[in-house]
């Protein structure tokens, strides 16, 4: 039986300690990204057996694993060696999870360090009474069977101890960008999605809103099956914001344009917006979402309102789909637990604006990724009869606007 840590009671007034552990090369990458990009209330710890990657990392704490075993050269994708390294550094591992209320474990599975150490950390953190959420990626198919097998084993190990696993398949992530885009861009987009999901989960847990989603709800959604993790988020401003934000969220490649929502048994919807957010908008969004989900699926709704009147409306969808009823060994969540309610904001930005009302957590405004259309800034210029048609944009220029106007040839 899990008992949730005290901090989940809002009464104590103590701020929860959220810690993000980046394990292995991929994990350290994610940790770095989060440390740089978001001023989230997150402590970042980089753990790796490769000294070089640690040196380059900007995480606030760094822990070298198995310096004697690997001589700081990394485990080289060998799980045996990584396991040996983890054993050697057991006390460091314990230290790294100590005192955290929520532990995020970020790792790319299929290699050495990440695959071997993450399950152990999950176990240690769980023993400490922390809430453990693992955010992991599994290798591309083209990386071979061996790697995916290693990843599979590691997943099982993690599942035994973690409260929830947010699982991204690299293969699916690659679909995020158009197939013809540069490799670098694709990797960056993958990283970005990982970042967004961690950032949103963080805010979701640390910043409650007026109509909050309880942690058990969140965990229930994250855990409800072994299949794919669904995640989508969109934000919009202006008159048609409800529709636009939702459209964007549904367009997320991780939702397969909303199609995958049909298969999800539980879906968490979080809306955050300025004070001007009307009930009609909330109702419209929920109605639209329920059209996209199966009639039998359970919807959890969370709403938070930002103090800032210029905040955009943000819609976040989290769900889990798939039939592989991988009922994890992790103990079921006691339904009775009066867990502190937290609005689930999956989106980086979303969380930010939405969160201001909550307690002490002055969520600093993060430079969140803007998902705006690129033609917006050009709007004021005349497009004449092409006003309502899809704009012709080449290299960032709206070619529907007369050339002579753009070049200021006019006398």
């Amino acid at each position: 039986m899990i008992t949730y840590p005290r901090w989940l009671d809002r009464g104590t007034g103590k701020e929860p300690v959220l810690r993000l552990l980046g394990i292995g090369n991929a994990g350290v990458n994610i940790a770095d990204r989060i440390a740089i990009r978001a001023s989230l209330p997150l402590e970042t710890v980089a753990l790796n057996s490769d000294q070089q990657s640690l040196n380059a990392s900007v995480a606030s704490r760094k822990t070298a694993l198995g310096p004697m075993t690997t001589h700081g050269l990394g485990a080289g994708g060998d799980p045996e060696m990584a396991l040996e390294a983890a054993r050697e550094s057991m006390s460091e591992l314990r230290q790294s999870v100590e005192g955290a209320d929520v532990v995020f474990l970020c790792a790319g599975l299929g290699g050495g360090t990440g695959s071997a150490t993450t399950p152990q950390l999950a176990e240690l953190a769980r023993a400490n009474g922390s809430l453990v959420i693992a955010v992991v990626t599994t290798p591309f198919q083209f990386e071979g069977r061996r790697r995916s097998q290693q990843a599979q084993e590691a997943m099982q190990g993690i599942a035994r101890h973690a409260d929830a696993i947010v699982h991204f398949e690299n293969d699916r992530m690659a679909e995020i960008t158009a197939p013809r885009t540069e490799a670098e861009e694709t990797f960056a987009a993958c990283d970005n999605i990982l970042f967004q999901s961690v950032a949103s989960l963080t805010r979701l847990i640390s910043c409650p809103g007026p109509m909050a989603v309880a942690v058990p709800d969140l965990l229930g959604v994250l855990r409800s099956g072994g299949g794919a993790f669904l995640f989508g988020s969109g934000e919009a401003d202006g008159g048609n914001r409800a529709h636009e934000a939702l459209e964007q969220a549904l367009r997320s490649p991780l939702l397969d344009r909303g199609r995958l929502l049909h298969d999800a048994k539980k879906v968490l919807v979080h809306l955050s917006g300025p004070r001007s957010l009307t009930f009609a908008e909330v109702a419209a969004i929920m109605q639209q979402i329920s059209k996209n989900t199966a009639p039998s699926s359970l919807l959890h709704l969370g709403v938070s309102v930002a103090r800032d009147d210029s905040a955009p409306l943000i819609v976040t969808l989290i769900g889990h789909c798939g039939t592989a009823a991988q009922v994890e060994a992790a103990a079921p969540i006691p339904a009775a637990e009066p867990v502190r309610a937290t609005p689930p904001t999956l989106f980086a930005e979303e969380a930010i604006q939405s969160t201001p009302p909550p307690s002490t957590h002055a969520e600093p405004k993060t430079a969140a990724p803007k998902v705006k259309q690129e033609n917006l800034p050009l709007e004021p210029i005349a497009r004449g009869r092409f006003e309502k048609v899809e704009p012709t944009i080449v290299e960032g220029e709206d070619l529907d606007v007369p050339t002579f106007l753009r070049r200021k040839l006019k006398k």
């Binding site: 679909e175 197939p179 005349a382 009869r385 007369p402 002579f404 006019k410």
Partner: protein, 402 residues
């Protein structure tokens, strides 16, 4: 199969819908029997935005073509355009068992592999054009059929577009129980009739500037090496004039056709054009220099974009046959000079459909290049392989999906 087959090419353009009925002889000759036209409504930038109106226009054009050619149209070859159409080059290879001969099976599988290249989910491949084969690394193989080898590589030029948008155009025709036998991309269609084999070998760029879009295709060593669509066309010039000179769209269009030119040299500042007053429009004097300047800057920009794209693939000095302009907008005065100023040193020609017979007014009209090309493409496809059609693949794609 009848000795003389009749093919119908149909283009749903931004300014007009036209259908060409052509009689195709087995020896490759083609004779135009009739051309049907209808001003287009409900089409913007080469794509349908108002289904009902567009359908009506297609109907009018087909009915007109039937009248003029005295032929009942049962199926058409549809030319497709729009900015969603993209292309790329892809190489694929297959390995053969020990020293065996290359058969149709291997050639098919190498093409299949090339098409596996990632295109966005919502897209479908419209054309996969063979550029060249390599057998065991030997370059320049034109037909590997029957050759010995252990490895067959092939370069393909793949053109793809958004399935739903293509489907919309097809549905427009199907409304009247007329079959769409196959689809062809505008630029590929135009190239069938405007370019001859020599020009393709020497290297040529065909630029088809229509009302809403500009389609272009680049040939080098006899094979397509680049193609694309830019959603800029004659409509943009009209719109520029409408905004720049503050005159109604209809007047702008008329002014463009009657007086417009892309040449700004030797125009005195006092040269003015008087627009007569019309219902709802009081007469005005227009500065000719201004008029031509607006047109010129638009065209120069368009050619500038094209040049940039083309140069990435083929250096200009390899374009032996130069640049050929066709499409309705190529009738604009001074367009050749505008193109020449952007592509210095490369010859620029105004072109229309070649190697077809029939009424001169039909094939000499550059507005009809694409449409005639679609019929010619039909002839070419039938000559090669009468069975397989791209549309079957589109259909198959849909079946697999729903």
């Amino acid at each position: 199969m009848a000795r003389e087959k009749i093919h119908v090419g149909l283009e749903i353009g931004t300014t007009k819908v036209c259908a060409v009925v052509a009689e195709c002889h087995r020896d490759g000759e083609m004779r135009i029997l009739g051309v049907g036209e209808s001003p287009s409504r409900g089409v913007r930038k080469g794509e349908i935005v108002d289904f009902k109106n567009a359908t009506q226009c297609v109907h009018d054009a087909l009915a007109d073509a039937e009248d003029r050619s005295d032929h009942e149209i049962k199926g058409v070859w549809l030319a497709i355009s729009g900015s969603h159409i993209k292309s790329f080059n892809n190489r694929s290879s297959v390995t053969l068992p020990e020293e065996s001969t290359i058969t149709a099976k291997e050639i098919e599988s190498v093409e299949f592999k090339a098409k596996e290249a990632g295109i966005p989910k919502e897209d479908v491949i419209i054309h996969s054009v063979i550029q060249r084969y390599y057998v065991d690394g030997q370059e320049g193989v034109i037909d590997p059929h029957g050759m010995m080898g252990t490895k067959l590589d092939a370069d393909f030029h793949i053109i793809h577009g958004v399935t739903n948008r293509i489907q919309n155009a097809i549905r427009c025709v199907r409304e009247f129980d007329i079959d769409v036998e196959d689809i062809v991309v505008n630029s590929v269609a135009s190239a069938q009739v405007v370019l001859d084999e020599q020009q393709k070998q020497a290297g040529a760029v065909l630029i088809d500037i229509g009302g809403g879009v500009t389609d272009y295709i680049v040939y080098k060593d006899g094979a397509v090496c680049h193609s694309g669509v830019i959603a800029i066309g004659g409509d943009h010039i009209t719109n520029d004039l409408c905004i720049g000179l503050r005159i109604p769209i209809a007047r702008a269009e008329k002014l463009k056709i009657e007086e417009g030119s892309a040449i700004t040299e030797n125009i005195s500042a006092s040269d003015r054009i008087t627009l007569k007053n019309d219902t709802g429009f009081s007469g005005r004097d227009i500065d000719r220099l201004m008029l031509n300047m607006i047109i010129k800057s638009r065209l120069e920009e368009l050619f500038g974009i094209l040049r940039k794209r083309i140069q990435e693939i083929v250096p200009e000095h390899l374009l032996g046959a130069g640049i050929l302009l066709t499409g309705g907008c190529s009738l604009l005065r001074g367009i050749r000079e505008a193109a020449e100023s952007v592509f210095p040193g490369t010859p620029v020609y105004l072109a229309h459909a070649q190697s077809v017979s029939g009424p001169m007014s039909a094939f000499e009209n550059p507005q009809l290049s694409t449409c005639i090309g679609a019929a010619k493409y039909a002839q070419a496809v039938h000559a090669e392989m009468p069975d397989e059609s791209i549309l079957d693949r589109v259909k198959g794609f849909f079946r697999g999906r729903f």
